[in-house]
Symmetry: C2
């Protein structure tokens, strides 16, 4: 689909230059030196030159007497629209606009960028950039960028929203740290975005792992959908930088104050199966193992080391990442005892001792790698007097090619171990100079194993009374009210199958007494007014009213007080409400609409757990039953759901059902901006849950 | 005090060899090549040779006709004791035993090591090792080790319990990553330990920062005392690896199950002002900034970058470490506007744009560094087409010498930036290829600023009735009971000035009724028996008894039930106890004795906060009032102490007082192994606290 960007039959460089100080020179030179000269046709476009770098130059793409697959534009921004139109006329399918001066430079630039999009769309062209570094495919080979040199081939495809970070990454690659299959500097993402590249790189046989540096994912829901499919096939590692402006997001709810861009990204990456890197170094640590080594089929890791201290450091680092050491089989230990000196440790970590030469490493690795209790190996080497560094690396490399278990190296040091590290690279064995890098890599491989196994999400659909909710919203909107609660909110919840307290709206004290006796004492009385949001603040809630007298007194007092506090409030009367039975656990379910990813649903325990501990978790709707189940086990206070201090476990089935129904609600009604159900009282297993209170905010439909 | 190790007038190498395959050759060669040949006398000791590497050899140290300051022993372990005795006879003050085969190799080895200690003590010798790499002082210069080459000079002194890790570090140093003042491989620490080195390195003018890799600190209390003094003078960065066996530690208490070696180290390093590194790379990141740059006097950091993306990454990394960006003064921004291109960003992060050459960096840094709102700078560089890498590094280096604000560099990439990084090193400007390294360094500098400012801890001493506690313990011990609770525990708490509920031991139901009316209804009744630890499990606790009848019934029922459950239990009767007033907050105060650091005092909120959230914090006694105060603000649920949901704040003063009194108790009675006060009910400000229950375990006095 984007073939013309990565494997074009011909490339035009618009703005090609013979002046080595210009970008138009760098791009042309990279095309030539990057190996494309042997692969396809190169057409420099320059109004004044006849020939550049030995290639015949043309004044315009329309002067080129052959088809052009890819055009790279490096001319001043004012001329870009006109030239892009020429490309359209020439039916060039793919264009890279390197030129800056568009959206990133203000309002005028944004206007110019819109023009580019318009031209590209009209002519059926795909466009990378503007304001980018270019595109590289090391297998074609094609270097259509102004990078300094071409990176070595390898299994990693990298897309970067930041061009500068792209240059840094290419520099690491050229230093031999990593090999790339493809590289795209996305720039302003006027057309081609992360989503487009994910789709094609997911099918690219030269790419084992996809790396993303992104500063924002405007089309978040589609990103999740596409990434979820691709991540089942090959690992995606992403680094998300910067914080997104919350924009018009309302923050009157608990959920609103807890849900930020960070929470949305966390949920999105988790649901999409994207491995998240906290840092650039972390991204490379993960990508090296995922890209060069076979999958890790279990979490039992063996360590082979020539020194105790570093062995402990690696063990600690693994433990910090929740990775367990393998328990070696007795047979393995016996074999090791036969081959290793007496003082060696044959339990994991296996210590081959400071005087170990390559042969001793080799026999230890060869023995341990065959142990069925071992899923992966980390080989630690410290440069000691007798250590044979390149020979040991050679042994590790050869053994790594004979096994389908991943092997990582941890050659500690720099000057002395460098020769060994080079040998390791030749064999695709990643080296981590520090233990924590290796541990992070193992963690990522372990996480990716689980991601690969995940079933396609199945979305539950409940048969609910959507009409009833629509009516509530319409009525409120007709009165210009966009924040609703109480009985209206209950009507919505009821229409989505939730249990709410029995309740009646009483206009007079007499009515209140009558309803109370119907509902059954004790009852709760609440002021009913669309203008009073925080009822308790004005004495608008009384609980545990035990008889007619108490109800009558409370009714009169409430009306008196609320009128005094908020003279202009519309008072509908008082809601007479069932006292729900004791013995339940208070939880909160909420929703807030993220500007990029859409409906972000929150779950956590209520009261101080949400207020003080902020112990909540998030999912982006739609989510599956499995994902809703995960939410219950992600909060720190999950033990309270399982029952502590003699309390029985709560009705998790009912709770999950409610979370899923609320996920459906926020999809059915995109105009709902946020809500809190707080508290939802969950009773012990089999006894369900009752939603006590809900506040919901929605917007006008356009 | 340890001068002879670092600046000896003469060195004997016992086991010196002319065979390049032997350690005895490597040590002698390092002495010679490391520059010591020009500094002092070198005496190879070898029974068979006349001359080695051009130096006259002797059969024994006693054949050397001059004084010897330092002896390095590299002979098979069987001969070490005899040779050490010869060193004693020769009055050699300092000995490094490189030879392995001692404590680390089992019971026989431990016996041999004890012999070494005995010989050293008898002869007044100090001993480094055995089983170590040796000692280096780059300023003397002295390389008395078998390291591969000598590290470059620098401000960092490094002590390592692991020799292998030592070699890795020396290798990093030789690659130019860091410069060392001193290096000691501590080996088995038979004599010289971390504590000894801290004392002398604290006074060493060549050392700006002390680095420790340790696997255990047996003399923990002294380590804290010494490190606290030294850390006020220069930063100490430590990495603690591995977990210490809990040994005989009892774990019947909450505190016991929460307090592990990890918690003890955390508290110890915090109280000692030691900066803790989580990883080797983190240690170097911190040490480079602390060792080479001036102190960071505030947390307002400015970033200067030639690309937006990396600027965001650095901002994010700083934010993750709770470091704030500086707000540049208007004047600064105006000056920047004058000098930078229009498209540049003059707010922090300052973006000098991708085409910035060295001069533009220079003017930006020069302007920003003078802003009084800026405490430190991070200069980000990505290798772009126009970037002048070494020239920019030169500019940064020169500016760094003119300011007393720390400047860190973040040159991203590898191959292309290498030349610049070398220039930066020349000027002592640390470079962090990844933003998170720079952020970690800034965090460490900020933490160290606070450590330097800390006052000497003042230990409070309460005038308490120690005798009364002694009596309780003696009585229990005389009956062979080492776990006590209830009234006995209350007596201890009372003698340390704590409030406990009113209570009387009733032997009969009549007595119980009599006491209850004296105490005032409602009361609590509890079975009193030294053999029943979990009273509620056997129905041994009844609360809220409102009258004589209820007390009588409860008494009889309790006796009947407990006798049926535990037939052989000694029953003393029932404790009649005051019901403490409602409205308090439950907290837990506990203690557990750590094998290395001694009494580890715990504080946290009671109930589910400790059981489910394990939300507790620790200090090692003795601790100051300030340290006790810190405990209250370290728990995640600290908001509950300040009052939430309309509750008033608790009586923190009383709580701190109680924590300090308990700190005194565990110091007064080293035989107390652990206790839990759970719950302690803390009332609102000014209303104090009541200890409801305490369980305490102590050991036999020897």
């Amino acid at each position: 689909m984007l073939d013309a960007f990565f494997d074009p039959k011909s490339v035009a460089v618009i703005g090609a230059s013979a002046d080595p100080g210009k970008l138009g020179y760098a791009v042309l030179e990279n095309l030539v030196k990057g190996g494309y000269a042997q692969k396809g046709e190169i057409y420099p476009i320059n109004r004044k030159a006849d020939e550049i770098l030995g290639y015949k130059a043309y004044a315009s793409v329309n002067d080129v007497p052959h088809d052009i697959d890819l055009a790279v534009i490096v001319i001043p921004y004012l001329y870009v629209p006109a030239v892009l139109r020429e490309c359209g006329k020439k039916s060039i399918p793919a264009v890279v606009v390197i030129t800056a001066g568009f959206r990133e430079s203000g309002v005028d630039g944004l206007e110019r960028e819109r023009e580019l999009i318009e031209i590209a769309n009209t002519n059926g062209m795909r466009l990378v950039g503007p304001n980018c570094l270019g595109v590289i495919d090391t297998f074609t080979p094609l270097n259509a960028s102004f990078s300094a040199g071409t990176p070595p081939q390898g299994p990693m495809a990298f897309m970067s929203q930041s061009g500068a970070l792209g240059t840094a990454i290419l520099d690491w690659a050229q230093a031999g740290r990593l090999g790339l299959s493809k590289f795209v500097s996305l720039g302003n993402k006027a057309d081609v975005s992360e989503i487009d590249l994910l789709k094609v790189w997911g099918e690219d046989p030269n790419t084992n792992v996809i790396l993303i540096y992104s500063e924002g994912l405007p089309n978040g829901q589609e990103f999740i959908r596409v990434a979820r499919e691709v991540s089942r096939k090959k690992p995606i590692v992403a680094i998300k930088s910067g914080t997104t402006e919350a924009g018009s997001r309302a923050v009157s709810s608990h959920t609103g104050s807890l849900a930020g861009s960070e929470q949305a990204y966390k949920a999105a990456f988790q649901q999409a199966g994207v491995l998240r890197a906290d840092s650039m170094s972390g991204m490379f640590d993960m990508a090296l193992a995922l890209g060069y080594q076979p999958p890790l089929e279990g979490d039992r890791i063996a360590i082979i080391t020539n020194a105790g201290g570093p062995g402990i450091l690696v063990t600690d680092a693994l433990e910090q990442k929740n990775i367990t050491l393998a328990r070696l089989k007795i047979k393995t230990r016996q074999t090791l005892e036969n081959y290793l000196p007496e003082a060696a440790s044959v339990a994991n970590p296996v210590d081959v001792l400071g005087d170990a030469k390559a042969d001793r490493y080799q026999v230890a690795i060869d023995t341990v790698v065959k142990d069925p209790n071992v899923d992966g190996l980390i080989i630690v080497l410290t440069p000691q007097a007798m250590t044979e560094i390149p020979a040991t690396a050679e042994a590790i490399g050869k053994l790594s090619q004979k096994t389908d278990k991943p092997i990582l190296a941890c050659f500690m040091g720099e000057a002395e171990v460098e020769a060994g590290v080079k040998v390791l690279r030749k064999y695709g064995v990643p080296n981590y100079p520090f233990p924590e890098g290796a541990a992070l890599a193992i963690r990522a491989m372990s996480d990716y194993r689980e991601i690969r196994k995940l079933p396609e999400p199945e979305y539950v659909h409940y048969d609910i009374d959507k009409e009833a909710t629509q009516k509530v919203l319409d009525k409120a909107a007709s009165e210009d009210r966009y924040a609703i609660g109480d009985a209206e909110a209950w009507d919505i919840l009821k229409s989505y199958g939730l249990r709410v307290p029995n309740s009646q709206l009483a206009k007079t004290a007499d009515e209140a007494v009558k309803f109370a006796s119907e509902i059954g004492y004790p009852v709760v009385l609440k002021i009913a007014s669309p203008d009073i949001l925080h009822k308790t603040d004005v004495g608008g809630v009384k609980v545990g009213l035990r008889n007619a007298e108490e109800v009558r007194d409370a009714f009169d007092l409430m009306l008196y007080r609320t009128k005094r506090f908020i003279p202009n409030a519309r008072i509908w009367g008082c809601q007479v409400q069932e006292m729900v039975p004791p013995g339940g656990t208070e939880v909160l379910i909420g929703m807030n609409r993220d500007p990029q990813f859409g409906p972000l649903v929150t779950f956590g325990l209520g009261g101080i757990y949400v207020e003080v501990l902020k112990d909540v978790t998030f999912r982006i709707a739609p989510f599956s039953r499995r994902e809703a189940e995960e939410m219950l086990s992600e909060i720190r206070t999950k033990a309270l759901l399982d029952g502590v201090r003699g309390n029985p476990p709560v009705d998790k089935k009912a709770l999950i059902d409610i979370i899923l129904r609320m996920g459906q609600l926020v999809q059915d009604f995109p105009e709902i901006v946020e809500f809190d159900i707080n508290p939802l009282i969950v009773y012990p297993e089999g006894q369900g849950a009752v939603a006590i209170d809900m506040r919901l905010v929605f917007t006008k439909n356009d």
